[in-house]
Symmetry: D2
Subunit: 112 residues, 4 copies
């Protein structure tokens, strides 16, 4: 895959400015960010823990929980992108490489 699959560079820059303006760079170590990411994934899981599959499929359409779901997805993404920045990992390149590996590992069904 030679075409880019994603562009998170404006988000990376915005997260950097946000950290700079609050003197948070010292807190943004890789291990801290992995723990923070774990925390946000836990909050996301809590939204789904007692739902049936049918309820889960409609969760983002439910006014009572849509906001919470959107917020948790955003939190997970922001910590993931911040972690990648801090580690110097190009997420687009990493995803493209993984796509190629997955395509070899799991071949498409015949005729698709």
């Amino acid at each position: 895959m030679t075409q880019p699959l994603l562009d998170v560079s404006p988000l990376e820059a915005a997260l950097q400015r946000f950290a700079d303006a609050r003197d948070w760079n010292g807190f943004h170590t890789p291990r801290n960010l992995v723990l923070a990411l774990t925390g946000e994934v836990g909050e996301l899981a809590e939204l789904f823990q007692w739902l049936t599959d049918e309820q889960a499929a409609r969760i983002a359409a439910d006014p009572a929980t849509a906001r919470a779901v959107r917020d948790e997805l955003a939190d997970v993404l922001m910590y993931l992108v911040r972690l990648s920045s801090v580690l110097g990992v190009d997420l687009d390149a990493a995803v493209r490489e993984k796509f190629i590996a997955n395509g070899v590992k799991y071949p498409p069904l015949p005729g698709r």
Copy 2:
């Protein structure tokens, strides 16, 4: 924030084509994807569990572990984007809203 912070639409489309070509859409329920995301975050955490902060900061530069780190970051991102697609959540809008809320919750330091 009115400017887009991220664009993952090519990745969303690629993940949909990947699932279509393997008849995986039935597996991609929200709860399944949350469990899969949890699994990948766990694998990411394992890479960092016995490292010092100094070792962790250099992990992506270490040839022995750089590949593993890139792969796990990619896996987390792919499941997160797939989950958002399945739920019909616009990640860019969700992130922009969260940024505004965070800016209110955590004001910048004076003069920044």
Copy 3:
């Protein structure tokens, strides 16, 4: 290892009575409990995410956070024991088997 390493049978019974008295057994499916366990581990991780190793070592002695740490450890344990019960897994036997396997995988240092 033939000696028991743990006894959680009173806790298993108490959790069963608690679920019975609230008609919660239908919610206590394995996948729901795995998601709930993930959520509690996430809450535990959040307590440690911005701490230095020195601060983390003293967290349970800090009056401000000791209660939160104890509560999260208890929550993780309760969901883990409940999950094991629902799956019919004998945790003591499982732990003893794992200890033996770990002892083979990681031999003790010479002279210890």
Copy 4:
């Protein structure tokens, strides 16, 4: 609740001896153990991620996966107990306190 709900003291002692014999105490910091716990919960989640609720309920009876489930439950418990030890938390007391709090927060149904 004044009766003990659990006894993990033999496991605590065994984990301490295991660490001593391998010079692992320096690795067993709270934050390292939280990351390790996260990793094991992730491995547990992976066993359940593509299963229906019916398949999940039978997972520990399935010879192909029973061993893996038992091992992951044991791993989660061992890291949880080790973390509690390192933090000086009495898990039995913590669980009894949480039970009382939960009983107030979620009253039993009438007549139960």
